[in-house]
């Protein structure tokens, strides 16, 4: 229930913040009409605390009224993030198991081109919201619109990629709706009672935890590169629902003043890369990063680094793997000259295949390596680059 108290002065600030155009000022007082989705943007904007939404806690009896799996479709410049497609493939499985529909939530400015892809990867329905304020991710605008959609349509599950923006957005919505949220999941299952079992590592991957949420929707962020992306079916056609929103850019509380690109090596975000070649202290000097770049190129991967490399300023922080950097789960992780301190291992030990090259046979990295090579990286890496190039020449499709 939404209520407007006598402290309302009719100032109209809430009108400019409401994305759904549901508020009018009538006789110096805010009046809320049926377009209201209870997203809560007005409550947050009111300087007089004159609007309140009373949210009921979800009781067991309410649970059955929540239906459907939702995936937040995160776009990035001119493409959808890989994790969005991974989540749709996973969400499809969960939806089929529950016998419920799978929907994608697409927000942005000119995003219509992505509809085909979202359909092909399994969405039955796509909610599309286009607005200039949504062109670039911002916490307030995205949280307001998504909260409104969730309250209105009551999905059972909402999944986000555990990306920089996904992890900025999901907790905002969870706190507004007072519901549970599980971070950075690496596994999702449906139990016998139709509940979402959320599996995630904790304590740096030393333990795994299965988590249930007693509220609805059940929300989770999911680690990129863990769920398998299915084959697209380009004949699929999802139902499209367009939601018109009215967002006043001036009502947004933060403003992006500038966007600075520090071009990452091979321009690949390491969180999304299938193959990562990481260098450590063993490289000795920054010139030797050239070896990492060449090896990454030969393998078709991205370049990462351990903490000492980043602390020395050889590479930017967003390429750092480990506790104070990023957690990655690529198909192949090549650790070159990295001893494997626990702070590094927690950031990469869920990778499918780990190849470690190090001259110290006692290096802890060998404990997690699928294949460990004891030897001089300055001899092995150039040979590896050469052999990979030769292999490619012999068999260009490989």
């Amino acid at each position: 229930m939404i209520e407007v108290f006598d402290t309302c002065t009719g100032c109209g600030i809430c009108v400019s913040r409401c994305p759904f155009g549901a508020i009018r000022i009538v006789e110096k007082r805010a009046q809320i009409n049926e377009a209201c989705t209870l997203c809560g943007a007005c409550v947050k904007s009111c300087p007089f605390g004159a609007i309140e939404i009373k949210r009921k806690m979800v009781t067991p009896a309410d649970v059955s009224s929540y239906r459907g799996i939702w995936v937040f479709a995160e776009e990035h410049g001119n493409h959808l993030r890989n994790v969005t497609l991974e989540l749709l493939s996973e969400g499809r499985k969960l939806a089929d198991k529950l016998g419920e529909p799978l929907a994608a939530l697409l927000l942005g400015r000119n995003v219509t081109d992505f509809i085909k892809t979202l359909s092909a990867y399994g969405a039955d329905k796509i909610y599309v919201t286009e607005h200039e304020v949504l062109e670039r991710y911002n916490s307030d605008g995205y949280a307001d619109v998504l909260t409104g959609l969730i309250v209105k349509h009551k999905p059972s599950v909402v999944l986000f990629g555990a990306t920089i923006n996904g992890r900025d957005l999901a907790p905002r919505i969870a706190a507004r709706l007072r519901i549970g949220l599980t971070a950075d999941c690496t596994g999702l299952e449906i139990d016998e009672e139709g509940r979402l079992v959320q599996i995630r590592p904790a304590f740096g991957g030393n333990i795994m935890a299965s988590i249930l949420s007693h509220t609805r929707p059940q929300m989770a962020t999911v680690r990129p590169n863990v769920m398998k992306r299915g084959e697209p079916d380009w004949t699929r056609e999802a139902e499209i629902e367009r939601i018109n929103v009215m967002i006043d850019p001036k009502a947004m509380r933060t403003r992006v003043v500038d966007i600075v690109k520090e071009v990452a090596d091979r321009a690949v975000n390491i969180e999304e890369a299938d193959i990562i070649v990481s260098g450590g202290r063993g490289l000795g000097s920054p010139e030797n990063l050239k070896l990492m770049r060449e090896l990454a190129e030969a393998l078709g991967g991205a370049v990462g680094a351990s903490r000492p490399i980043v602390d020395s300023g050889w590479l930017p922080h967003h390429q750092q793997v480990g506790q104070t950097g990023k957690t990655v789960s690529p198909k192949l992780y090549v650790a070159v000259g990295i001893s494997g301190a626990i702070q590094h291992l927690v950031g990469m030990q869920t990778s499918d295949i780990i190849i470690a090259i190090n001259k110290d046979s006692e290096a802890p990295i060998f404990k997690v390596a699928t294949m460990g090579v004891i030897g001089d990286l300055f001899k092995i890496v150039p040979a590896l680059i050469e052999e990979l190039r030769n292999a490619k020449k012999e068999n260009p499709t490989r």
Partner: protein, 264 residues
């Protein structure tokens, strides 16, 4: 400037294991430390105070022994601390933790300008508490910042927020909540004088009855998520270790291996 820094005492994660029989966490004898990323938040708060004047107040929720972590913050130079400690707060998930911290800040430090937190804690790695706190307190948030400029006269802050290919420069009005990454600064070490003076600084212990909040939203009762099982991760299996004798032969072995695994 009134700067609040929320910190957490965490176990040294390298030492935490699952008891294979009872399937519970073996935390006994595991040393506790101040969450590493929180040090960057404290350092930045101290720098803001040094530049603009004001007060740095530490807020934490945790058992009595979390006082050790508080003492470290005070030794670094924070002015005073609020320690939320009560059995009623135990078992809190991120939502209940954020609620309790937010209530305490609203009640005891209502005139704050900036809240700084480490981006995430190394035990849970959720990064959810700061953002949920910002929502409870109706604040704007800028997560993952590597540079901060506060403008007390203009009542605003400009921060560099890390993105996947660089950063975005975000401007927000005060008050604001910021979460720190390691690029932000280089945390100072506590000086001997700092360590000695820390014991004389005020730490106020707050229990559930001292808080105006809804007690049903504290601790386990206020936590919508529930850990139903913990288990040890699948062991990685024993890897193959080879000793390089001939780089070309070694390279061929690696390529053969990757080919068999379908990676290339």
């Amino acid at each position: 400037m009134i700067i609040v820094v929320c910190i957490k005492q965490v176990p040294e994660i390298t030492e935490v294991k699952v008891d294979p029989k009872t399937k519970t966490l073996m935390r006994e004898g595991v040393p506790s430390i101040l969450n590493p990323l929180d040090e960057f938040a404290i350092e930045e708060a101290l720098r803001i105070r040094e530049k603009h004047g004001g007060e740095v107040i530490i807020v934490t929720m945790g058992p009595p022994q979390a006082n050790e972590a508080i003492l470290k913050c005070l030794a670094m130079g924070a002015d005073r601390a609020i320690h939320l400690s009560d059995r009623a707060f135990a078992g809190a998930d991120t939502l209940a933790t954020a609620y309790t911290l937010a209530k305490a800040i609203k009640q005891f430090i209502p005139n704050f300008d900036v809240i700084l937190c480490g981006k995430q804690a190394i035990d849970g790695d959720t990064a959810q508490v700061p953002v949920e706190m910002a929502e409870w307190l109706n604040l704007t948030q800028i997560t993952g910042v590597k540079k901060v400029e506060v403008d007390p006269k203009g009542r605003k802050v400009v921060a560099h927020r890390e993105t996947d290919e660089g950063y975005e420069v975000i401007e927000s009005k005060l008050p604001v909540l910021l979460t720190a990454i390691k690029e932000l600064n280089e945390p100072r070490l506590p000086t001997l004088m700092g360590i000695l003076s820390a014991k004389n600084k005020e730490t106020r212990v707050i229990t559930a009855v001292d808080l105006d909040g809804d007690t049903g939203l504290f601790g386990l009762n206020g936590s919508p998520t529930q850990v139903v099982e913990i288990f040890a991760p699948k062991p990685r299996g024993k890897g193959t270790i080879i000793l390089d004798e001939d780089p070309v032969a070694t390279a061929k072995k690696i390529i053969q291996f990757l080919f068999e695994k379908g990676v290339i």
